[in-house]
């Protein structure tokens, strides 16, 4: 019997798992996909919001600024890229300046520090490429950017380092209440746990409905993005929003932690929870809106587009509470924006909620907040590069020539806990294929390394999802090959 079963290994489930691994508990983290961080966590704006947007008094209002403050330490412990570059909300007329003032006031109540309302001159000083028709804006220096899947992967890895069991490819098909705790029926077998934490993202409603009559519904809402080449990465310095509307925070222009430029998202109601396709309309929409902020964005530099789904609910706030119908079953649901920003605070909040139900837990004195050091070869000084190659020649072999990623780094991220097993899994962890050639040159090499390290045939290596096979078999054999066989 596990003490806790966490359903969903996205940014929320992984963060909770790692937070709970600070205690002597038997924990299992269940993921239906073949990798962690493979739902909403892998396709979002990658922003750590300052916290002025949320309605004061709501969970979002409470947890956003709190989570934001925790980012520095968390990302330092886990060696995850995080940059506090500040965020702007810009206004194009006096009407919008009223919204800016409103945000400023909300921010103060929500505990957002050091905000400032800027005039046009100061705004353009901060962002010289802004369009000339801006009149002013809100500056929040605590706004930041993070690698969202890198963080979730690091959290899952560190959780496993500290004793959590991770089980991928384990969709929960049904849950039954037991005398004490719950029995979970997964693709990979049955699991018993005293407490269940439902962090199933888009599917949190279906999971909850297994133990309770429906109390909430998760409504998927799609956001589409364009990612631009590093050539364009320095076009803006901060995270630039337009004034929020009833549709949300609007289209943002921001640099990513890796130095690309990110533009998006749209906000579209969709009827499927796997509606992850981009559309011509959606991409045109974000282009048009982004050009309202910065006209001069070079859309010729686009290297990829993608879409993500937000897990929204009608109330508009996070749902983080014990199910009324199911004791010891905690929903952590409807975590749409600012879910990523709030994630560290949500994890603490959930642990406290669980303690309130189960009583205080014994501390895990062996908890190690750090994971095995991560090598970013190309960022090392030359002497260290030389030393590393001498120690392990695989660091002397560049596999991804756009991002300069070595074989050593790729093998390392395959061998870690919660390690990569797919081409996109390698890409999310070490970045080969995320550059301008988008894997054109390196994907055959990455597949070869994956097959070798995982000891499987190369034809079994998939791109991302379970059925996303890449190769369909061997080519025809030559006469010589046939004779030899």
């Amino acid at each position: 019997m596990y003490d806790v079963a966490i359903i969903g290994a996205g940014i929320i489930g992984s963060n909770i798992a790692r937070e709970l691994s600070k205690y002597n508990l038997r924990i299992i983290l269940l993921e239906k996909e073949n990798d962690v961080a493979n739902g909403t966590t892998k396709a979002n704006s990658a922003i750590v919001h300052a916290g002025y947007d949320a309605k004061p008094g709501t969970l979002k209002g409470k947890l956003n600024a709190l989570g934001n403050r925790m980012y520095e330490n968390l990302c330092k412990e886990l060696e995850v890229p995080f940059k506090r570059i500040g965020s702007l909300v810009i206004a194009f007329n006096e009407e919008e300046m009223k919204i800016i003032k409103d945000l400023y006031e909300k921010g103060k109540i929500n505990g957002v520090p050091d905000m400032e309302i800027l005039n046009k001159e100061k705004l353009q000083h901060l962002e010289p490429n802004l369009n000339d028709d801006v009149v002013g804006g809100l500056y929040a220096p605590t706004g930041g950017i993070v690698g969202p899947f890198e963080l979730a992967i690091a959290l899952a890895e560190n959780a496993v380092d500290n004793g959590v069991e991770l089980q991928i490819n384990s969709e929960v098909k049904d849950i039954q209440k037991l005398e004490e705790g719950y029995q979970l029926f997964t693709e990979k077998g049955e699991i018993k746990a005293k407490y269940v934490i439902n962090a199933a993202g888009l599917f949190a409603d279906s999971i909850h409905n297994m133990v309770s009559p429906p109390t909430f519904e998760i409504i998927p809402n799609r956001g589409q993005y364009n990612l631009l080449d590093k050539n364009s990465g320095k076009h803006v310095n901060t995270v630039i929003f337009q004034c929020p509307t009833s549709y949300g925070k609007g289209v943002v222009v921001l640099p990513t932690v890796h130095g690309n430029l990110l533009v998006g998202p749209s906000a579209e109601a969709v009827d499927r929870k796997d509606a992850l396709e981009s559309s011509m309309e959606g991409l045109s929409f974000i282009k048009e809106k982004a050009q309202k902020t910065v006209e001069s964005i070079r859309f010729n530099d686009v290297i990829t587009s993608f879409a993500g789904l937000r897990a929204k609910t009608s109330s508009g706030d996070f749902i983080i509470e014990e199910s009324k119908e199911a004791k010891g079953f905690i929903n952590v649901a409807a975590i749409d924006s600012p879910g990523l920003s709030s994630a560290p605070a949500i994890a603490e909040y959930v642990v406290n909620l669980l303690k309130g139900i189960a009583g205080e837990f014994e501390k895990n004195i062996n908890f190690n907040p750090k994971r095995r050091p991560v090598v970013h070869f190309i960022e090392l000084p030359d002497e260290e590069k030389a030393k590393l190659i001498e120690k392990d020649p695989r660091y002397g072999r560049i596999i991804c020539r756009c991002e300069n990623i070595t074989e050593g780094e790729i093998v390392d991220i395959i061998k870690r806990n919660a390690g990569a097993t797919t081409v996109d899994g390698v890409k999310r962890r070490a970045r080969p294929g995320s550059g301008r050639c988008q894997g054109g040159f390196c994907s055959p090499r990455v597949m070869e390394i994956l097959a070798r390290e995982l000891n499987v045939d190369i034809t079994e290596i998939v791109k991302d999802g379970k059925n996303s096979y890449i190769l369909t078999g061997s080519t025809k054999k030559t006469k010589v090959q046939l004779q030899e066989a």
Partner: protein, 426 residues
């Protein structure tokens, strides 16, 4: 610190020819750096024939063509390092490179030859909306899987883009037992060589759908199908012409981009149209002693032209090392005008040209019964009658330099003129 006279970055057809030529012109300390595990570059995966008609007067396959140069390189005792990546170069011609055997290397060169080739444009770059399923490959990546790794990438295939690699792969996939449903081309004409359209599509009854494009991609994990549509003159899809095609594979042959990340680090001036360095008659870039040749300069249609251009670069680098390349002399600029997309070289120092000056260019559209008109400082000096011009095929104009020198010409312009008049267009 390792010292060489000439360092060649890239051991594909351009780098091989340049290194050999530098050696033949009296340079001994040459190093060729190749990032792949074998020399020959992209030729190694081009197992079809048709290479070498101009250089060797015979039809070779890609690997055969490469092999001739590799053998010569070895016979000449030119040093090369495989599986080695240049991390950066400076305008002072210092290089940093790494590999698994030598570790991190600092290399100083008297002259550098850039021959890094090009990369393929991707789905992202052309922003095709839809799912991000597996089964979408650039044609070159698919070619590598099929011809070098020995794996098939799909069974029912659509190819977007009728560039040469797309055409070649249509035939290759068919020969390997796949069904190639169509080659879809955005433009009203093919970007590939006519001989490839005949030999790779017509001979296998593969339809070429001109003025069509892919507007949507469907498939959760693996590609399940695509939607194509006719395109109007402005290249936008026409509403109502959409057609869904069931397929498991989409190959993209939608353009090649010279790979100049290293060049940028050395502050080499790049041309916006070609995407490659601005070069002069000696294939020297804006940085003295840094030369460039092959697809890193502009994308070629035939490897034979790469060889020719690279020999010039190698010979010039040798001259540079021996202080025989004149740099201070009066020069002229070339300028593409109506109908011409670009001209290489962009600058010419006549003192370094022996007898004739070759200008390489591409037109911007299909033209019938036109003239390529060359002017020197506004005065007509050459008119070449052309029955058919296409952007897929590189055009060469040869000019005797004697007159240009005599008249101290400052600018040569090239344009397309319709036969008998000043009108142009198709």
């Amino acid at each position: 610190m390792l010292d060489y006279d000439v360092v060649v970055i890239g051991g594909g057809p351009a780098g091989l020819a340049a290194a050999i030529e530098a050696k033949k012109n009296g340079i001994d300390h040459i190093l060729v750096i190749e990032r792949e595990r074998e020399l020959g570059g992209i030729l190694q995966q081009c197992i079809h024939n048709g290479f070498g008609l101009h250089v060797f007067k015979e039809e070779l396959t890609g690997p055969e063509y490469a092999e001739r140069f590799i053998i010569e390189l070895r016979e000449l005792g030119i040093e090369y390092k495989l599986d080695t990546m240049v991390l950066n170069i400076t305008k002072d011609k210092d290089l940093t490179a790494i590999n698994a055997i030598d570790g991190l290397m600092y290399i100083r060169a008297k002259a550098i030859i850039l021959s890094m080739g090009c990369r393929e444009r991707t789905r992202g770059a052309i922003n095709i909306p839809g799912s991000r399923s597996a089964g979408i490959f650039t044609a070159g990546t698919a070619q590598r899987f099929v011809n070098m790794e020995g794996y098939m990438v799909g069974k029912k295939v659509v190819i977007l883009g009728s560039g040469d690699i797309g055409l070649i792969m249509a035939r290759r996939m068919t020969l390997e037992g796949a069904e190639v449903i169509a080659v879809v081309e955005l433009m009203p004409y093919s970007g590939g060589l006519t001989r490839n359209i005949v030999q790779c599509l017509d001979d296998f009854n593969i339809p070429l759908l001109l003025s069509h494009t892919v507007i949507d991609i469907k498939g959760k994990d693996r590609l399940e199908g695509i939607t194509i549509a006719k395109t109007a003159e402005n290249r936008k899809p026409i509403v109502g012409t959409e057609r869904y095609i069931e397929c498991d594979t989409l190959l993209l042959s939608v353009g090649l981009i010279p790979e100049n990340e290293l060049s940028k680090g050395a502050e080499v001036e790049l041309n916006e149209v070609t995407g490659g360095p601005v070069v002069n008659e000696s294939m020297e870039t804006s940085i003295g002693g840094i030369f460039a040749c092959g697809n890193v300069v502009h994308v070629h249609d035939l490897v034979d032209w790469v060889t020719e251009e690279s020999r010039r670069a190698g010979k010039s680098a040798a001259k540079y090392v021996k202080n025989q390349l004149s740099s201070g002399c009066v020069g002229l600029n070339t300028k593409p005008e109506r109908g011409i997309r670009y001209i290489v070289p962009q600058r010419v120092r006549l003192n370094n040209v022996e007898d004739t000056l070759n200008l390489y260019m591409r037109v911007d559209n299909i033209y019938h019964n036109t003239n390529i008109v060359v002017k020197a400082d506004g005065k007509l000096i050459k008119k070449i009658k052309k029955i058919h011009l296409t952007p897929g095929e590189m055009e060469t104009v040869t000019l005797p330099i004697h007159d240009l020198k005599e008249q101290q010409i400052r600018e040569i312009t090239v344009e397309i003129q319709k036969e008998g008049g000043i009108n142009y267009g198709n």
